[in-house]
Symmetry: C2
Subunit: 152 residues, 2 copies
């Protein structure tokens, strides 16, 4: 949850050189409460609260906002792409193998890229993405194996 108030959304869009439109404001507003949402969840949320939006518009908006640097896209294996408003800092994620819940984790090291591989095989590296896998507090206590148990 970034401390971005509704009123700051419009200036934020303008500052990023983007035109201010209803879908964009709506998506951005939904994003500020409810992190790590998928395009689909976002579409439902926007429709529920603020009227109508086409699925494709959601993708367009997410694409534009991501390209503009207002949103960050993450794609944990086995899940649809998710988006978050925390950009610019170097944080990572913990993903629950059972329920798919995602939580932010502050960077263990410091400045990005937070790690340099011992040997990069000649690659020029600009980002180190770290994903921790495990069980969230809720799913730890669930004794019976979760129905839709993730394979990995």
């Amino acid at each position: 949850m970034t401390p971005t108030g509704r009123e700051e959304l419009i200036p934020a869009l303008r500052a990023a050189g983007l035109r201010v439109t209803a879908p964009r404001v709506a998506v951005l507003a939904e994003m500020t409460d409810g992190e790590h949402m998928t395009a689909d969840q976002l579409a439902l949320a926007v429709r529920d609260r603020l009227g109508t939006i086409s699925t494709q518009a959601v993708y367009d908006v997410l694409g534009a906002l991501t390209k503009a640097g207002l949103l960050r896209r993450i794609e944990p294996a086995g899940s649809a792409a998710r988006y978050e408003t925390r950009v610019g800092d170097n944080h990572h994620h913990v993903v629950c193998r059972a329920c798919g819940a995602i939580t932010d984790v502050d960077c263990v090291v410091g400045e990005p890229p937070c790690l340099s591989p011992a040997s990069a095989s000649g690659f020029v590296i600009d980002e180190a993405e770290v994903t921790f896998w495990g069980l969230c507090p809720d799913c730890q206590t669930t004794s019976k194996p979760t129905e839709k148990e993730r394979v990995r």
Copy 2:
């Protein structure tokens, strides 16, 4: 490239409690030279060299081998799932943003999970997956922006 000779494939399958079938041996053989292949590439390679195999059989085999621990599945954002024979050790990957090439990177730290997040929010973590993003040697020299430039 794991030092697994063709002759060791069959015992390896048996040891894993799997029945030895032509598709399994063929897939496993292809995997030993040609790392980080997708299901599709694998299907083509097997058909080219060893005859016929259905796409679904490739998925079945990959699933079985992965579950048995003979293969590891990796899913870099924006790419189809890829498989590798290096299992058990704790290594990571560098992915080229331009061409999608993947190279192994030895773990920076040591034993898995190689990193412990400062605060895991109550998660019990069993794996830390690290993916470095950048440009491979070939794509660094390519002055003109790659056609199918990856978005992220």
